[in-house]
């Protein structure tokens, strides 16, 4: 039982990170029907910028005096950086292809993914970039179960971000505009919603969430690497599809499920096949419910 609870908490931590990445996939898919393969690279870039910012602040000596401010600053910095990156990439590589076949944009995204990960390798080197480990040492100890402060921080921050995003999308005017653009670009343009700005905003929000997941990943596993975006990227994409692509609540749920399945599969069945379980669950769910758990939220414009 203790083992189960421990694994549950680990799964929650990992699932939260997947959910944050999956949201970017699902939101971008919702507005422009593109699988943004470069999204995993936003996650990796977020991890890198976080590591750079934390190291810089530690070098200045602020880390000992007020670590919370440093951490907040690096989170904000890396989210802003990735939003900036994503908006520019959308303008360069995806916007000119919006009218072309979807495969062209998909390949452009694949090329962008290769370009970005190699760009990070060239600027930051091929070796792991280490995160400061003295942050968040220790945790609550309940006999067999340990919940580290880091896990509490990750889970609570994830929850805050997810709630914030839900509020943004479902309660504000901007969110309404985003949903309108996702449903019908022409009609939303007729009621004076600039689809270009909404698409840029969607990319920015998605990349910002991925960047926060990148820092969490770095803190949790201790280091980041230039090619780390790929595997979490495809798992998060699987999570987005599992929940029903284009559906924000579905992506959150899907991320949690994929994280849980991976942790429990690794804990109870076999650690070597942990990546297989996530995909088996995905295939099984899609077999019985071909549009994902929550159903898809995009309108099929083909008549």
């Amino acid at each position: 039982m203790e083992y189960f609870i421990q694994q549950f908490i680990n799964g929650l931590t990992l699932g939260g990170m997947y959910a944050l990445i999956a949201l970017g996939y699902t939101m971008v898919y919702g507005v422009i029907q593109l699988i943004n393969f470069a999204h995993g690279e936003f996650f990796a870039a977020g991890g890198y910028v976080g590591a750079i910012a934390l190291a810089y602040l530690a070098g200045l000596g602020y880390m000992e005096s007020n670590p919370v401010i440093c951490l907040t600053a690096s989170f904000l910095l890396s989210m802003a950086y990735c939003a900036y990156l994503a908006v520019g990439i959308e303008k360069i590589a995806y916007k000119p292809l919006r009218k072309e076949s979807r495969l062209a944009a998909l390949l452009s995204a694949l090329g962008m993914s290769i370009f970005l990960s190699n760009g990070m390798m060239l600027t930051e080197g091929v070796y792991d970039k280490v995160y400061p480990s003295e942050l968040f040492q220790g945790g609550f100890d309940f006999g067999m179960i340990t919940i580290s402060y880091l896990q509490i921080m990750i889970v609570s921050l994830t929850a805050c971000l997810l709630v914030g995003l839900n509020l943004l999308v479902f309660k504000t005017k901007i969110g309404m505009a985003m949903r309108a653009t996702a449903q019908d670009k022409t009609m939303s343009a007729l009621v004076a919603i600039g689809s270009n700005r909404i698409i840029s905003l969607t990319f920015a929000i998605g990349a910002g969430l991925a960047a926060s997941a990148g820092i969490m990943y770095g803190l949790y596993y201790g280091s980041v690497k230039y090619d780390m975006g790929f595997v979490p990227g495809i798992k998060a994409f699987a999570a987005a599809v599992l929940g029903g692509i284009g559906n924000i609540t579905g992506a959150m749920l899907g991320g949690l499920i994929i994280g849980m399945v991976e942790i429990f599969g690794a804990g109870y069945i076999s650690g070597e096949y942990k990546d297989v379980f996530a995909f088996i669950i995905l295939i099984a769910v899609l077999y019985f419910k071909p549009t994902g758990i929550m159903g898809e939220n995009i309108d099929d414009t083909r008549v």
Partner: protein
């Protein structure tokens, strides 16, 4: 010229400043608490000067300032085009065949090696073209079938000692069965769901190959796969057959060439058959195809299985050539690479795919001197190619006209 420049300078300036903002945090912030600007500006100024030259060429071309160069070039290419259009297609095919047959004679070992991978990728690309180009199903795990084919030959050969020619149909069969296993549950799904599920299957196959130590020897791979064996008639002391291992790359090249030619003929025949028409109708509109009496599920499964057969055959050849297989050769990046070849060349068009394969295999070889910049340039080229030629290098000619084209 100034007018043309006015049109683009704003976007260009914003873009290049955006790049500066992107580079600086990665290069200029140091862990010891210092900020520098020198490296960033050096790198940035290289990019600035390079891209500015490209921009100026573009502007000059757009404003007809380069007329004195482009006009004669256009005249020459136009003349060549009229001459080539007058020649029938078979002359081209024969010319290419003669070139391909003579190629190992003047290319060195390295050149032949690259050519062999080009030929194997052509077989793979044509197989994927059946799935993506003809039937319109996005498959991101295609390389799994290649892996199945390669491992089938490697295992049957090392464990049971079966010869290559016995294993070749076995590889095709196993890949076909794998294709049906993947296809059967997934083909009810549409577009992007299919993409992620095939990606998942591809990863599952790779992970199983990587972890099933007793069968596949895990990440270490299988060593000691035998090359292709053939019997050559010998006329000394009567008429006998002598067994001969195709170890030399130059001989293997001809087998790969035969495979690629057979694949090209096969796909061409499929394309212009009843089955190909059915696939095309499914690609254009599945509901309408179903209404017209096309059994969509069966044809989609057939497309999947056919694609897998081509990949399985290529896989067996791959194993015979490398004489070693390991899961590392069958990653998602390879699937993406094959997909790029198909889309870059032009979906559904056989010459396009061949050109796409040559471009994507040869390009990294050309940029080999740039070493670590190789993949960076590769990614950038992919984006630029898609931006300028979204339908591929040689787009496929479509049969008939469509209603939306008539309206436009």
């Amino acid at each position: 010229m100034i007018q043309e420049f006015k049109k683009v300078w704003k976007q260009y300036t914003i873009g290049i400043l955006w790049l500066l903002g992107l580079l600086w945090p990665m290069l200029g912030i140091h862990p010891d608490g210092t900020l520098t600007f020198k490296t960033t500006f050096t790198v940035w100024s290289y990019i600035l000067s390079g891209s500015f030259i490209c921009l100026m060429i573009y502007v000059m071309k757009a404003s007809d300032a380069l007329k004195f160069i482009t006009e004669p070039v256009f005249r020459v290419t136009g003349n060549i085009r009229t001459v080539t259009a007058a020649l029938p297609a078979w002359i081209w095919i024969i010319a290419i065949l003669v070139f391909a047959l003579l190629y190992p004679q003047f290319a060195g070992r390295y050149g032949t090696d690259v050519a062999v991978s080009v030929l194997l990728y052509i077989c793979l690309g044509l197989g994927l073209n059946v799935v993506v180009g003809l039937a319109g199903m996005l498959d991101l795990g295609y390389i799994a079938f290649y892996g199945v084919g390669a491992y089938t030959y490697a295992l049957f050969n090392t464990v049971y000692g079966l010869a290559f020619w016995v294993c070749l149909p076995l590889s095709a069969t196993f890949a076909c069965v794998a294709g049906c296993i993947v296809g059967y549950p997934t083909l009810r799904m549409r577009g992007d769901y299919l993409a992620i599920v095939t990606l998942g299957f591809g990863e599952i196959v790779r992970i199983i190959l990587n972890n099933w130590m007793t069968l596949t020897n895990g990440p270490n791979g299988i060593l000691g796969v035998k090359p292709i064996g053939i019997f050559i008639p010998v006329f000394e002391n009567g008429f006998t057959f002598e067994h001969f291992w195709v170890k030399k790359l130059q001989f293997f090249y001809y087998f790969a060439l035969a495979l690629a030619i057979l694949a090209a003929i096969g796909v061409q025949r499929l394309n212009f058959s009843r089955v190909g028409r059915a696939w095309e109708s499914i690609r254009e509109d599945e509901t309408a195809a179903g209404l017209m009496g096309v059994n969509t599920f069966r044809y989609k499964l057939l497309a999947y299985a056919m694609g897998a057969v081509f990949a399985g055959l290529a896989g067996a050849f791959f194993a015979a050539r490398m004489r070693f297989v390991s899961p590392e050769s069958f990653t998602f990046l390879e699937s993406a690479m094959v997909l790029c070849m198909v889309v870059l060349g032009g979906m559904g068009s056989i010459p396009g795919i061949i050109l796409g394969v040559i471009a994507l295999v040869a390009l990294p070889e050309v940029f080999r001197e740039f070493q670590s910049y190789r993949m960076l340039i590769f990614g950038a080229t992919m984006i630029i190619m898609m931006l300028f030629r979204p339908a591929g290098l040689i787009p496929a000619k479509r049969v008939g006209t469509r209603s939306e084209e008539k309206e436009g």
